[in-house]
């Protein structure tokens, strides 16, 4: 490639950290089944358990409260599906827990699963968010009934970056006697996350959003919480998730988390400065725009911005041709024909969602990338607006 490509889509996925790559190569020959009693198995087991300790320590959990899964989506599916468990021995009280409360801005893996649960007889309430994407705590308090079995609120939103006050949410949930799950796939490794400070009962995290590989994630299950496996047929992960452990993926996740421990604090500050430069530059150079998401409680590298009269997929593709990768809330790019449900939930009109792009920066991005973006983007927007039937510059 002659042209330098700029990757601004770190909320979609991230490149492997060089140390993670090294760890993966080193463990490639550790082929033993961690469940085997012999030396090969025990050897593999030590790698898996070391990674478990690493993940647990990073979020303030105990190692036996961490189970490894195949993805963030699997983790979220597992936790929500506890609600319809009808097995004896799964200690989930089926007389008191048939209601789920979640929000309108969750990831599709929560929304689709909750829709499926609804068909199985679970009552689901979707909480509103305000114009910055914050959950309405009053509405949460009012929605919890003695029948509420679980509340699931995502910690940081993948599209607009807004971070919820999970601590306050967990206090409300526990006062009212219900359990709280948080999808922290976008939060863990980007901002400090401690399960005890937050007071959550379940938490999901993923490897590939934080410079680990795809296909591995973890779920925190607080000791004593009810649980029911989604994948059955083995005693792995203390009987909570059948399937031979993905040793390589788990080791890589452990290493990715370890590196986050070293790099996160500095990087958070750096990304915040870069985002501020980007936000300022866009606001100065391009008229008629809207930034979407909470101005303060937000992921350090995520900036969502909507351009009046410009369609998101067109913006994405013109940027792509200029070597810059972003994502969009436009329906056209998703293939679903529906614009971003997150942006619609903030109360912005559909045309804002259709005209929005998400810039998500990560550890490999530099201030130079921001400068290039600020040179290319104004031209792209001007060009699209010039042929737009829906743009007239405001005076």
């Amino acid at each position: 490639m002659e042209k330098r490509m700029i990757y601004f889509d770190n909320n979609a996925t991230t490149p492997l950290h060089p140390e993670v790559k090294k760890a993966i190569t080193e463990v490639l020959d550790v082929f033993g089944n961690p469940s085997s009693l012999h030396g090969f198995g025990r050897h593999a087991r030590t790698y898996v358990e070391e990674a478990r300790q690493m993940v647990a320590g990073f979020i303030g959990a105990k190692p036996d409260e961490i189970m490894f899964v195949g993805s963030g989506s699997e983790g979220n599916n597992t936790v929500l599906s506890i609600l319809t468990c009808q097995c004896r021995g799964c200690d989930f009280d089926e007389c008191t827990g048939k209601e789920l409360i979640t929000t309108k801005i969750e990831h599709p893996c929560i929304l689709e699963t909750s829709r499926c649960l609804m068909e199985k007889g679970v009552k689901v309430t979707y909480l509103d968010v305000d114009s910055d994407g914050k959950v309405d705590l009053g509405q949460l308090e009012q929605s919890i009934t003695p029948m509420t079995g679980l509340v699931s609120v995502m910690m940081a939103n993948n599209e607009i970056g807004t971070i919820q006050d999970i601590g306050a949410i967990s206090r409300i949930c526990h006062e009212k006697g219900t359990l709280l799950h948080t999808d922290a796939v976008q939060a863990v490794g980007k901002v400090p996350v401690n399960v005890n400070d937050l007071g959550v009962d379940f938490l999901t995290l993923s490897g590939h959003k934080i410079y680990g590989p795809k296909g591995v994630g973890a779920v925190y299950v607080r000791k004593g919480s009810p649980f029911c496996p989604l994948i059955r047929g083995g005693h792995q992960e203390r009987g909570r998730r059948a399937g031979t452990e993905n040793t390589i993926g788990i080791v890589a996740l452990g290493k990715a988390i370890e590196m986050r421990g070293h790099e996160m604090d500095e990087e958070e500050k750096r990304l915040k400065r870069m985002k501020e430069a980007l936000r300022k530059g866009i606001a100065e150079k391009i008229p008629d725009i809207h930034f979407i998401g909470h101005p303060v409680d937000t992921l350090p590298g995520t900036l969502n911005v909507s351009f009046d009269g410009a369609e998101g997929e067109a913006i994405l593709l013109y940027l792509d041709l200029a070597g810059i990768a972003v994502s969009t809330g436009s329906a056209c790019a998703s293939g679903s024909l529906d614009p971003s449900h997150v942006i619609l939930a903030t109360g912005l009109p559909a045309e804002c969602a259709h005209g929005s792009i998400r810039i998500s920066m990560g550890r490999e991005n530099t201030f130079d990338d921001v400068d290039v973006m600020l040179t290319v983007l104004p031209d792209v927007i001007a060009r699209i607006r010039e042929m737009s039937s829906a743009y007239a510059r405001r005076q």
């Binding site: 067109a314 041709l321 436009s330 045309e351 042929m387 737009s388 039937s389 829906a390 743009y391």
Partner: protein, 211 residues
């Protein structure tokens, strides 16, 4: 790398990168007919403006503006080239399939984005007829109710097919057609085949390999 992964043909890319005949100054263009279709709430909108040689009944110029994605931009750009010099009646019959063929084939899930251009063109032609007192020539695309129970029209079925419905069941999911008495099933299945054929037949084979 970009070349290999690019889901559009070179022709689509060319018209996306260098769109032709953009209506930058509407007043100066002084259109003989103007058509607007789509809605920015739905994510795409199109304006097509035409100049007509009345004596010859030929479109002499065609310009456009859109709030739309790459496919909408490219397909309308190429359409605006195709209709120049075309008889009005012929231009009125131009179908998304003709445009798609000229573009060398769009990915199937992008075809629904490309149907706005010719719709807006027909609206512009009707507008031209009306402005010139040729009311008998105006052809309105009236929707016909197919499913009386759920009040579903043939247009809604066509839209559902464009949005990806390929089976009777998928049509029902999208439009609720035939979900009450079911009497319209035969007619709906006939329309389903008709619209699948109209928009998607042979798109696989017209798209050059490796694009």
């Amino acid at each position: 790398m970009e070349k290999l992964n690019w889901v559009y043909t070179d022709k689509v890319l060319e018209h996306f990168m260098h769109p032709k005949n953009i209506l930058t100054d509407e007043e100066a263009f002084q259109a003989d007919g103007r058509g607007l279709t789509g809605n920015i709430k739905c994510g795409d909108q199109m304006i097509v403006a035409i100049k007509v040689d009345r004596d010859k009944g030929v479109i002499t110029d065609c310009k456009w503006k859109t709030f739309g994605c790459a496919s909408a931009i490219a397909s309308t750009s190429i359409m605006s080239e195709m209709v120049k010099g075309m008889k009005i009646e012929e231009a009125f019959r131009l179908s998304p399939k003709d445009i798609n063929k000229e573009l060398g084939g769009l990915p199937e899930h992008k075809i629904h984005c490309s149907v706005l251009g010719d719709k807006a063109l027909r609206a512009a032609i009707n507008d031209y007829y009306e402005r010139n007192g040729l009311h008998d020539k105006v052809v309105r695309e009236e929707a016909r109710v197919v499913c009386n129970c759920m009040n579903v029209t043939d247009h809604e079925i066509e839209d559902a097919v464009l949005e990806g419905a390929r089976t009777y069941y998928e049509l029902q999911e999208k439009t609720k057609v035939g979900t009450v008495c079911g009497e319209c099933k035969d007619e709906v299945e006939r329309l389903l085949e008709f619209y699948k054929n109209k928009h998607f037949c042979n798109t696989e084979t017209t798209a050059p390999a490796g694009t």
